[in-house]
């Protein structure tokens, strides 16, 4: 799939940020539903892990995907737009009827294609315990920080950062649709994008059961992002598949800025996006 977004009036028209992506999701072997949802539609990529029982969890994650489709047709994701999407999703999820005790909610992690002063950047965002990683020649780096009880204890110095805690991992402290704070505060990161960057977005169905080194190996071996996403999900299924599993892999191919910030400035009035299937 090749997509061209012409934008002749855009001052960032000369900025080139070409990405290729692939994704996979699986219900797993234990759960009866897949409450994960994802969006892989430039300029936004995200994973949402819904919760709440019956179909409420599905609804929460699906609503979040729908709201983030607001970026479709834009070249870039901006912070204000993200906050607006999160606020809308949060509000809608609160109106989802739930027949169980648990209120519906969802995590949200992802990346937006962004630019700053003509330099292409990854705008990473997170609420909850789904994760965004960057994989480069230097290895696997977790960018997002979980909103979980365990992470809070680590932040407070009460647990070592590599603590392997058998309990409380699934207790999250921030989510869309169920927090006291409306809407939940969205944590954000901004990274200069470099050609060869490989970003991984995933639900805890992957990271709870597949260790980092196996994730790294899969990301290193598979040249195609869709293959990488498929292999990651397969690893989680081999490990038992207790939870829903979702992986989205996004590769930066051609990344060029403009102006003095980029010595390799080149005037190209469009961004070309080559995509794998969803």
């Amino acid at each position: 799939m090749t997509r061209t977004v012409p934008d002749t009036e855009d001052p960032t028209a000369g900025v080139r940020f070409t990405v290729r992506w692939g994704s996979m999701t699986h219900r797993g072997y234990v759960r009866t539903r897949n409450e994960d949802a994802f969006l892989a539609d430039p300029p936004v990529f995200l994973v949402a892990d819904g919760m709440g029982g019956h179909d409420a969890g599905d609804a929460a994650s699906s609503i979040t995907v729908e709201e983030c489709r607001a970026f479709t047709g834009s070249r870039w994701v901006d912070v204000d737009g993200l906050h607006a999407a999160v606020a809308s999703a949060d509000e809608r999820i609160r109106h989802v009827p739930s027949s169980s005790e648990a209120r519906p909610g969802t995590t949200l992690t992802g990346i937006g294609l962004s630019q700053q002063g003509g330099t292409p950047c990854w705008l990473v965002f997170n609420v909850g315990d789904s994760r965004t990683y960057r994989f480069t020649e230097r290895g696997l780096e977790q960018i997002s920080v979980d909103h979980s009880r365990v992470q809070e204890l680590i932040d407070a110095g009460e647990l070592p950062s590599d603590a392997d805690v058998p309990f409380g991992r699934n207790v999250i402290t921030r989510a869309l649709g169920m927090g006291a704070q409306r809407p939940p505060t969205l944590d954000k990161w901004l990274l200069v994008a470099v050609p060869g960057d490989r970003m991984l977005l995933c639900s805890d169905g992957l990271t709870d059961v597949v260790p980092d080194d196996l994730i790294s190996q899969a990301l290193l071996r598979a040249a195609d992002p869709e293959t990488a996403a498929g292999q990651l999900v397969a690893l989680a299924l081999e490990a038992g598949g207790r939870d829903n599993i979702t992986a989205v892999v996004v590769d930066a191919l051609d990344v060029r800025g403009y102006g003095p910030a980029s010595s390799a400035a080149e005037s190209t009035p469009a961004t070309t996006l080559i995509g794998g299937g969803q």
Binding site: D80, I143, W189
Partner: protein, 400 residues
């Protein structure tokens, strides 16, 4: 001598410099040389507004705000005036609606104010006895039309209404004060050591009260940083102005002055940093996020100075909760750490801190030996260079 001075000015002898010219008067700290006071006066005497006065004063004080002495100045026409006060001086303006007190203490640069319907303005040093004493007894005042005198207080009957009510006040046929050295007792010459050293505080810094510029108790407060106020271009720049946190509009907005072309400049600048035109004295507030300058990398990039800037081989702004993302400045060199250095802007002040980089950052400032940028931030001056090794440098260029 001029005889067009339309208002009545009285002065009380003392150790400071009293200046009077057509449309304005000022009291300047007596520690500055008389020649300086005369130089300021002669420029004002040829006409000008408050910004001309401020410019004249900074120009004769080596162009540096650091060297500007304390003063109180008032320019007035037909009862409405423009006031500036710095250091241990106070201006009390009396009108039908009561007294307005303008103080220069606790202000990093100077307090500035526009007043309407002034009847009488009294300019005096802030001294416990002088403040308690109130206006001097009528017999203590001597008339002054235009000139420089050794004074402790100036009293100006500005308002025309008062003039009508008290014809005697407006009909004072003041003898012009002579400017010759014979008739003006010279104050002791100011020793060089009396000039505040670059590392020293600018004026009073303890227990800074709220000022025209807002609370000055932020970390950027004068005298706290290890770095000194530097005169970066022969004009002026000041350090330590804090963003206003209340009062004049949006939190985080910034006090500024506009040049004739409308460019935003730090308060106290005499010429626009963008176009070089004179900067009027008109104070304004600018929204948060307006760049106050820029940083240039030796590799060619430049980034505007606003908010926070993360500098590194692969810089990353991490875990931001608010609406504004930091800027990123990527320096793709192997010896530079992923995130190496953080530059942040508060008000008109710029700070740098090393963020635990492998190879460190060094500050090059004038002829001073290089020193390592710590992980606790230090304040930068215009013209500073940050050296990241192997020829990779960041400069904070002089502003045009």
């Amino acid at each position: 001598m001029r005889t067009t001075f339309g208002t009545a000015l009285g002065w009380v002898p003392g150790e400071h410099h009293g200046l009077a010219w057509d449309g304005g008067c000022a009291l300047i700290e007596g520690t500055v040389p008389l020649s300086t006071a005369i130089a300021v006066w002669s420029r004002m005497e040829s006409g000008g507004d408050l910004s001309s006065f401020l410019q004249a004063l900074t120009d004769v004080c080596d162009g540096s705000l650091l060297h500007v002495p304390g003063f109180a100045a008032l320019m007035a026409r037909e009862g409405s005036g423009h006031v500036a006060v710095r250091g241990s001086f106070v201006l009390v303006a009396t009108s039908a609606s009561g007294d307005v007190r303008c103080e220069g203490q606790g202000v990093t640069t100077w307090a500035e104010r526009r007043l309407d319907a002034i009847d009488i303005a009294r300019l005096a040093p802030v001294e416990p006895d002088a403040a308690a004493a109130g206006p001097p007894a009528a017999g203590d005042e001597r008339p002054l039309v235009c000139g420089v005198v050794p004074a402790s207080q100036l009293v100006w009957q500005v308002g025309s209404t008062r003039d009508e009510a008290d014809p005697a006040a407006s009909s004072v046929e003041a003898e012009p004060a002579a400017l010759s050295a014979e008739s003006i007792p010279l104050p002791p010459p100011r020793p060089e050591t009396a000039v505040a050293p670059p590392d020293g505080p600018i004026g009073p810094t303890d227990d800074l009260p709220e000022s025209e510029w807002g609370p000055a108790d932020a970390p950027s407060g004068a005298g706290e940083g290890p770095a000194g106020l530097a005169d970066h271009d022969g004009q002026t720049i000041m350090r330590g102005l804090s963003p206003l946190t209340s009062g004049d509009g949006v939190p985080g907005s910034l006090a500024a002055v506009l040049c004739d072309a409308g460019h935003v400049n730090p308060p106290g600048r005499s010429r626009c940093r963008a176009c070089g035109k004179p900067v009027g004295g008109q104070k304004t507030m600018v929204a948060p996020g307006v760049p106050i300058g820029w940083v240039e990398a030796s590799s060619g990039q430049s980034v505007e100075l606003t908010g926070t800037i993360i500098v590194g081989r692969q810089p990353m702004a991490a875990r931001v909760e608010g609406d504004r993302m930091p800027s990123l400045l990527a320096l793709p060199f192997g010896h530079i750490s992923g995130s190496h250095l953080e530059i942040c802007v508060e008000g008109w002040a710029v700070f740098a801190r090393d963020v635990n980089s492998t190879n460190g950052t060094f500050l090059l400032r004038g002829q001073e030996p290089p020193r390592r940028v710590p992980e606790d931030r230090i304040q930068l001056d215009s013209g500073d260079v940050l050296d990241l090794g192997h020829g990779v440098k960041l400069t904070f260029p002089e502003m045009a």
